[in-house]
């Protein structure tokens, strides 16, 4: 229980995105949940995390960005 699957560095990960342009790290061995698409990977956990730091630039969901108009 103490080692969560998302923290297991020995596994391969992918990066998922949803319709709100929110991202999720995802273990490659698990089925991708509905409403999400793979945008990066499979790669090591670290590589996925650096990709996220480079590519996820706005924490706001898409609908709120549109509402704010900028």
């Amino acid at each position: 229980m103490s080692e969560n699957i998302f923290d297991d560095e020995s596994m391969a990960f992918v990066v998922l995105i949803n319709h709100e342009k929110q991202y999720s790290l995802w273990p490659e061995v698990l089925t991708i949940p509905s409403g999400w698409e793979q945008v990066f990977g499979p790669q090591t956990r670290d590589t996925c995390l650096s990709w996220l730091n480079d590519n996820w630039t706005d924490l706001r969901p898409k609908s709120l960005i549109e509402m704010d108009g900028n």
Partner: protein, 556 residues
């Protein structure tokens, strides 16, 4: 008022608007008070409007962050409202935080203004802060000099995505800023206020620091229901005796407490009632922030039966907007194993999952994942951390769930808290849940409270046994109890669960948020080790001198 939320789609109400509705309904009721002043709803709105004008004039716009470093007074609430009104987001910083932490939070959230007091800023940054290096500092005491320019009217964009950023300490590394929106707070309020049966006649105490998210519940619980928020002075917060007097004088009806703070309050109130003080006006006490030990609450029910004064346990996480579950406590729950936390609020879903993200069976321990309307946006400037904690939900199409790191099990729809997944200790190869040992220790008649921490090994980073830090119910017990305690524990726990070291203390150190400070506990133990070993050294030295003396005498 009509400018607020102009052009916003339906269903995008904001916190400021909820407050403004109360201003219309209860203009002359007291909204907020501190030890020096009080403001009606109408007066609070006027002050907040003026403050938002000043923030706007100094460049604050929708989507910006504004740091708040203020002592406990009405200015805090005025400025929270002023910031939200502009569609900006407040970043509360406790003035008692260490300077490094304050600087870290500011560097991380990049506020477009810092609202503080001249004196506080001098203490923090010296006279430098008054130079242009920190030109975005706004001192509340200069507010009265501000003359609003009628031509430069603030643009109200109050539904702006972010409402506040609260920094929480991770188990390792730097604090991380949790970004929460208006919608999440409103989801909490809408789900929990009917359960609390809160009305405009209630008096809420602001007990917690704005930098601890329990305060979000206190502030908005009051201001969205037309109730009064009374800001407890700093000197009263940490004195249980002063606090019970304050609760009487202010006729507080809703109090929120961490269990650690409440255990101390029970004794103080018991004393007060013995001195034939009037009973408290309290209607509800809400627990949050830490696991609750029900056995410790029994004493309170002798003072106030649960039919008169409801005690409510709420498990929560900053990342899912203060509270997640709800449980009305009663005598009949005593004796249940671990901490009962009840059921999830209607605005969210609590999932207990195993390693493969599958739901565990009833009665099995799983990790708590939270989905629904209270899930925060994520961590400011930490896309990596956000994507690893706020993860795709296999149970809600296209939605995320927050993985909490907390363990629980569910029996007949009721949740029971089982501690942090990462608080589990590994001692000499055994996996140990410290709370299980603490519960057993506290079941001993002479032990009031117990905390079990890992004993660090001097040579490696690994744990080398367990330390039990204890508060005795009677002074006399601390003299020679260890053997008795060991005996007691060995009858109830497996041998690898037995602490190797015991230390009695008068009280437990609490963090600035009122939670048990485990780091400070370990330091207390280390300091005690040093002083016992130096006492030992001194005795050896004395013995050596005496022997020399005897030797010298015998040779002459």
């Amino acid at each position: 008022m009509e400018q607020i939320n102009k052009g916003m789609p339906a269903g995008t109400a904001c916190l400021y608007q909820s407050f403004a509705e109360q201003v219309v309904m209860h203009p002359n009721r007291i909204a907020v008070s501190d030890e020096h002043s009080s403001l009606t709803y109408k007066a609070l709105k006027q002050k907040a409007d003026l403050a938002s004008h000043r923030l706007y004039a100094s460049g604050v716009r929708t989507g910006n962050c504004v740091a708040l470093i203020l002592p406990r007074n009405c200015e805090q609430i005025i400025h929270v409202l002023a910031i939200l009104q502009l569609g900006a987001c407040y970043v509360p910083i406790d003035p008692d935080y260490p300077k490094e932490r304050i600087d870290w939070i500011i560097a991380c959230s990049q506020p477009s203004a810092i609202v503080t007091q001249r004196e506080l800023s001098k203490t923090l940054w010296g006279n430098d802060s008054l130079t242009k290096a920190m030109s975005h500092l706004l001192f509340v005491e200069d507010q009265f000099n501000f003359v609003p320019d009628e031509h430069e009217k603030p643009v109200y964009r109050a539904a702006g995505a972010f409402a506040y950023i609260i920094f929480t300490s991770g188990s390792t590394g730097n604090p991380k800023g949790v970004v929460v929106g208006h919608q999440q707070v409103l989801a909490l309020i809408n789900a929990a206020m009917p359960l609390l049966d809160a009305t405009h006649t209630d008096v809420w105490a602001l007990f917690h620091s704005l930098a601890f998210d329990f305060s979000v519940w206190e502030v908005w619980g009051a201001l969205t229901t037309g109730a009064k928020l009374t800001i407890i002075p700093k000197s009263v917060i940490w004195s249980p005796d002063a606090l019970v007097q304050y609760l009487r004088a202010e006729k507080v009806t809703i109090l929120n407490q961490t269990p650690s703070a409440f255990y101390a309050l029970i004794d103080a109130e018991s004393k007060a009632l013995k001195m034939s003080e009037q009973p408290l006006c309290l209607r509800k006490v809400v627990f949050g922030g830490e696991a609750l030990n029900l056995d410790k609450v029994k004493k309170w029910w002798q003072l106030y039966p649960c039919e008169i004064l409801q005690l409510i346990n709420m498990y929560g996480i900053t990342e899912t907007t203060v509270h997640v579950t709800w449980l009305t406590l009663s005598d009949s729950l005593c004796g249940t194993e671990n901490s009962p936390i009840g059921e999830g609020l209607s605005s969210l879903e609590v999932l207990l999952l195993d390693e493969n993200l599958e739901k565990v069976a009833d009665g099995e321990i799983g990790e708590i994942y939270v989905a629904g309307d209270q899930v925060a946006f994520g961590y400011i400037n930490r896309p990596d951390l956000t994507a690893m904690r706020f993860v795709a939900s296999p149970f809600h199409t296209g939605k995320r769930m927050y993985r909490s790191g907390d363990l629980a099990k569910q029996i007949d729809g009721q949740l029971f808290y089982f501690g942090r997944a990462d608080r589990q200790l590994k001692v000499r190869g055994f996996r140990i849940e410290p709370s299980e040992i603490e519960v057993v220790l506290e079941s001993h008649a002479k032990i009031q409270r117990a905390a079990v921490i890992a004993k660090p090994c001097l040579d490696s980073g690994l744990s080398d046994g367990l330390i039990a830090i204890l508060i005795a119910t009677e002074e006399s017990f601390t003299a020679q109890p260890i053997a008795t305690l060991r005996n007691y524990l060995s009858q109830l726990l497996p041998v690898h669960y037995l602490p190797s070291d015991f230390l009695f203390v008068k009280k437990f150190p609490l963090t600035v948020n009122g939670k048990l400070d485990e780091k400070a506990l370990l330091m207390q133990w280390q300091a005690n080790q040093k002083s016992t070993s130096s006492l030992h050294q001194q005795r050896l030295e004395l013995l050596r001198l005496k022997q020399q003396d005897i030797l010298a005498k015998s040779t002459t």
